[in-house]
């Protein structure tokens, strides 16, 4: 196990180097000149030159790359160009809001989609199954935006069940007062793709030999589904959750933008609009690291869930 972990961590280095190179050259050669963004509209050529000198933009490319790598390794990204807030503080202060919304969303969507998908798999091939599949296709074709716009209008504005939007410094107020509507809408929207996906996981398992054996020894369909199929389908379900896990750090940025929740997703979106490069670069690189670590943990978790899995 230890050897496996070391090798996997070792393999991350080239990928990480690639991410760093991609981000560096993307912003270096395709983005606009940082000095001009920082200088603003009325900057004199002297000011721009001074900023270039200060940022080290006049140095050779490899030296700039080295500065960039040092920033990554020391977690020192300096300050946001737009707000002069230090980038690390910016992330630390925005993360709680993102997690307050995203953790309930992730938990609810998995916990609701599993029974839904099991129920649909139980009646597979029937008219109910097919109607639900058609219904989810139609539900999926409507933009996420429409659900959020209409949901906010009806549930908050017209019926007044929830506040239209808002956020406070108190975690509990946020969780019970402001988070429920965004969470509810996000879960409702993600339910149909999740149910479809989990249904195929269950149907894959239902075709296996052990299910036939279980039927042959006279188990009820219900027992087969709940005891055998569900357990075996947990592996693809876990993989799917792991794939979505890095996403909770950026949050459902659309939800955050829409409901003005001061989370990381909204911050990144604002940074894109303002051309605030340090924020975008930092979040991209660290999220890539988090994604890689989560992938590794998922593979280790397989071993724990399914002893037959050989880590190689």
């Amino acid at each position: 196990m230890a050897a496996y972990l070391i090798r996997r961590l070792w393999q991350m280095i080239p990928t990480l180097a690639g991410v760093v190179l991609l981000v560096f050259f993307l912003f270096k050669y395709f983005g606009s000149d940082p000095a001009e963004i920082l200088g603003g509209l009325n900057a004199t050529p002297e000011t721009i030159d001074a900023i270039r000198e200060q940022l080290g933009l006049n140095k050779p490319v490899w030296e700039q790359l080295w500065i960039f790598v040092k920033q990554i390794l020391t977690f020192d990204w300096g300050r946001s160009w737009a707000t002069n807030e230090s980038v690390s503080h910016l992330f630390a202060s925005r993360l709680p809001a993102t997690l307050t919304v995203m953790v309930p969303i992730l938990l609810l969507q998995v916990l609701l989609a599993i029974p839904f998908a099991l129920a649909v798999a139980y009646v597979r091939g029937s008219l109910t199954d097919r109607s639900i599949m058609v219904l989810t296709t139609v539900a999926l074709s409507i933009s996420f935006l429409v659900y959020v716009i209409v949901g906010q209008y009806l549930l908050a504005f017209q019926f007044g069940w929830f506040p239209v939007q808002g956020w406070t410094d108190s975690f509990w107020t946020n969780l019970v007062r402001y988070a429920p509507l965004p969470v509810l809408l996000a879960v409702l929207v993600s339910l149909s793709p999740q149910t479809r996906l989990y249904r195929t996981f269950f149907l894959d398992e239902i075709g296996q030999d052990y299910v036939r054996t279980a039927r042959a020894k006279g188990l009820t369909e219900r027992a087969i589904l709940l005891k055998h199929v569900l357990r075996n389908a947990m592996i693809p379900i876990l993989t799917n959750v792991a794939v979505e896990l890095p996403g909770i750090f950026v949050g459902s940025f659309l939800i955050e933008v829409f409901f003005s929740i001061p989370g990381i997703g909204r911050e990144v979106f604002l940074a894109v609009n303002r051309g605030d490069y340090p924020v975008i670069q930092a979040v991209t690189i660290y999220l890539a690291v988090i994604t890689m670590v989560i992938n590794l943990l998922t593979d280790v978790m397989y071993k724990l869930v399914d002893p037959r899995v050989v880590l190689k």
Binding site: V19, F27, S143, V146, I149, P246, I280, T284
Partner: protein, 351 residues
Amino acid sequence: MSAVLENPVGVPTPATRSDGVWSAAARRFRGDRVGVIALLIVAAFLMLVLAAGAGVVARNWQSEIGVPNAPPTFMGAAAKAEQEAIAQPKGPNVDLSAVDPLAPRYKEWAERAAQFKTAEHARADTLPFGADRLGRDVLAKAIKGAEISILVGVSAALLATFIGTVLGSFGGFFGGRVGDVLEWIYNVFTSIPSILLIFAFAAVTGRGVGSVVLILGLTGWTGIYRLVRAEFMKHSVREYVRSAEAIGASSMSRMFRHILPNVSHVVLVQLSIHVVSFIKAEVILSYLGLGVSVDQVSWGTMLAEAQSELILGHWWQLAAATVFMAVFVTAFSLMTDALRDALDPKLRGAE
């Protein structure tokens, strides 16, 4: 319409020889009623896009032909009550010309203004599908929006498929050093969450249709690469490819003349799947203001406008954009499903 039916999505017309892969697939596709209806709807939309592109319909989508927020015809004209809310002031006008510094120039300005003719064209009180806050026809906007959204979705999907197929075929066919480098690029792109990758690209490219196509194409090729690579690995050791090698076919010829036609069904299905996801992505990018530029309309910009209109009770723009998009995307998804079943019978019934 019939011309489109006879030649669905570029499938070659059946030859007189024995059934090829494509004619067999076309036959299976024709047997799928849902798929055929979906194909008809998609074809109708594509005609609409062509017509809008050629300027036959929705050409004047920017002209303000109705009163602001004119409701759809079936609802009748909006009540005019609130427009007269401010009472006209009564009493004599006070002569301010002694203290008004601009007073000597009023006459000159009035003369200059008289030189310009402003024709006040009649604005309709209602429109078939209503009007937006400037009085522009929502139906024309939805059609023009369809043109942009579908165009972006299809072009971005073509770009992503092209990149994915070329890289995938090289990676799968050659393996070794080339394969390692391509795998490395793939790992780099997939280790960044896709939305962040899109944001990073959006931060450096500007706004506009071209940028959106570029962003989505450059970030969305990884899934196709993976599938095409696996297919090429499988096929490159098959006997027909070895035979081609034996008679002296070059690597390029083996890759693109022998193997590619045999995996083209995978590519086509992927293309189709990506069109749907890129249209959805374009709508979201445009809604956020990272998509098409301000003088263009897409379903996403319509939704962005509709959000503030809805609070005032003007729901028609939201409805038009939603219905157009839902019908097209549903039809396209069902067509994709039918296409996949027809091209790859092994996958039938799977998700």
